[in-house]
Symmetry: C2
């Protein structure tokens, strides 16, 4: 990745560091290394407030450069920093929400004279919440590839398929369009393989995970997603795959049916499309996330579908979430989130309804906040697609 | 999962807790919840040394039972423990290698009168290192499914394919045989999507990850595995997919060629098979891991392939690794690992050679340690399979 891009990202972090009197960050976690160094390495990016970043790398042993030094273990860090001609930090930031307790303490112990603060994860996540032009371009390309894979879904459906069998064919389509497959999540509140296909009543099964919808899954070791449900006439299914084509988690859901559904189902789907239209028209820089959520609740209540909105017995308490290198970034479109939208934020908006006896309905698209409003990244037909 | 199985696992942990004067464990991480509760939940398993385990669950909201209570946030834990009629712990164990620094501190702060120790991860990993009969049975079934998927590889190969295109077809075969897909790792030293197919010289590309072999990958955000290499006559490729069929990470590699390879390639492959034979014959309860590693190094040196063993420019410093709910469990078959093999341990043994201009050679199988020696879990032809 070109240096100006990396410098822009690092400077976004530095501005936040300066506000908190932090004079250096030690970055050790994979997604933050992708963000600040452009690729995964095993090692550490040392980011001083007022000097060039230095990479201390264990693996691969093929990385070389002016500001790159080899390292075997973190205890070498202070000496290596001094070798670069840099002072040891006064106030050092570590990734407190991502490093394990023990790894954090091991790193902190390398700097006995330094005040070590744990806000690194939240501060870098704040920097990552507004994307650069290059990141937005990765998302635009991802949206095109994601839509191209979904377009082919009707061609791989065969009558008599289970949710799992169809999911496997869609996973293959996604991979053939370039999806890297890996599904990155912040924290341990979510685990999934590539994404989910939820058919019929399985969409109402609560899961331990913090996704919009659950599903029983195939095994208690991964209780989410398809469970072997036969895809049947009169029922709907929803495809919600993670679109990680360039490291960025594009998010998109579409609904399919075998033959016609009940009138109520089309009404529920239409309600979600109207919520999407209203919320996306309202969203622009300065708008408060909670206000968008409340708008959705107001509309779904008026339409009479509140009991089935965002799940049935167990409901998701959000209608959208920031996306980036991970599927769950800032901002969250949820109650009590008083954050204002800013240009460059990218988020998924996913008003969804689960109708008992029918299945999941609604929509999910990825959007970027521009100066004027929102730009849709995942353009494809949004009606229920009849197979 | 049946209670006797869960009790057996919990008691394995309790024995280790008692040795360290720990009177309770608070288990919050997904793999340890699978181990001790039989499934993923969002919540906490509280494991007292001398009383029944209690589940404090956030999600899903459908779990009920005698020893199950609902919880919203960890700060409720002390009150809930008292409600169960249990005393607060004197010495409480948390998962210090898996909980983030901040989450650990939040949990520890809930117990201000308690001595909180961070050895939970390492102690539970020690318990998990020797598998129960049921876990071994999951592995046996996984081995059969894994081999069944690999058997079909020749039928999906088409001339002119890239490593990625063939990998996608093999991923599909694995999924159709029941593979859950998700690839669970302890720590952040490894990331991968399902597994890898390494063809030709790409197998020699060093990666940041701690796998036996690397590969350049498709994108700097995931620099490992296939990179778009055309599969060519005279070169080899190796398939190494994660066989997670029941939550357990079965591991298996096989080598394929298009037409014949050089004589040196067959000799290198044969050397790996002989190392596998020697090491697996030598392995039994009481044998030291390092001794197995040294045996392999001795043999590969004698055969003249030491420079190409376990990578070329950057070499993996192990020939095998424990497997279980995660791909990297104890024991590691590596230098300075003086751990003795014990009955019930399950590990992957993977002597591999990368020949420049040819590609990866060698073998990987999963094995369980029995009272007498080893039992192979992944039975399938081991010669280079010519396509």
């Amino acid at each position: 990745m070109l240096f100006p891009e990396l410098k822009q990202r690092r400077d976004k972090i530095r501005i936040l560091m300066a506000q908190q009197g932090i004079d250096a960050a030690l970055i050790a976690c994979n997604v933050n290394l992708i963000y600040t160094y452009g690729r995964v390495v095993s090692g550490y990016l040392y980011l001083p407030l007022n000097d060039f970043a230095r990479l201390f790398v264990k693996r691969p042993n093929t990385i070389e450069g002016e500001h790159v030094m080899s390292i075997r273990k973190p205890e070498q860090l202070p000496d290596l920093i001094k070798e670069c001609g840099l002072p040891l930090p006064q106030k050092l930031m570590l990734e407190g929400d991502e490093l394990s307790f023990r790894e954090y303490n091991r790193l902190a112990a390398c700097f006995p004279e330094t005040e070590v603060v744990s806000c690194g994860s939240s501060l870098i996540r704040q920097a990552r919440a507004t994307k650069t032009e290059m990141e937005i371009e990765f998302f635009r390309r991802s949206g095109v590839a994601h839509a191209k894979a979904y377009e082919q879904i009707p061609s791989v459906y065969r009558p008599g398929m289970t949710d799992l069998q169809l999911s496997i064919e869609i996973e293959r389509l996604m991979r053939l369009e370039g999806c890297l497959g890996i599904f990155r999540v912040f924290g341990q509140s979510m685990e999934i393989f590539m994404g989910s296909l939820l058919a019929g009543d399985n969409a109402a099964t609560p899961s331990p995970y913090d996704f919009a919808l659950g599903g029983a899954g195939l095994d208690p070791s991964l209780p989410g997603g398809p469970n072997g449900t036969l895809i049947q006439p009169g029922q709907s299914f929803m495809v919600d795959m993670g679109g990680n084509f360039y490291g960025y988690m594009c998010d998109m859901s579409r609904v399919y049916s075998i033959g016609k559904l009940s009138e109520q189902a089309y009404a529920a789907h239409q309600t979600c499309l109207e919520i999407q239209e209203a919320v996306s028209s309202m969203a622009k820089p300065g708008v408060i996330c909670e206000d968008l959520y409340n708008k959705a609740i107001e509309m779904v209540t008026k339409a009479g579908f509140a009991d089935y909105f965002m799940g049935v017995g167990q409901k998701a308490k959000f209608i959208g979430h920031g996306i980036g290198l991970e599927i769950n970034e800032a901002p969250v479109i949820a109650p009590r989130i008083w954050q204002e939208l800013e240009p460059g934020m990218v988020f998924a908006l996913e008003p969804k309804i689960v109708l008992p006896g029918v299945g999941p309905l609604g929509i999910e698209n990825s959007w970027v906040v521009t100066a004027e409003g929102l730009e849709k990244l995942t353009t494809a037909p949004e009606e229920i697609i009849e197979l």
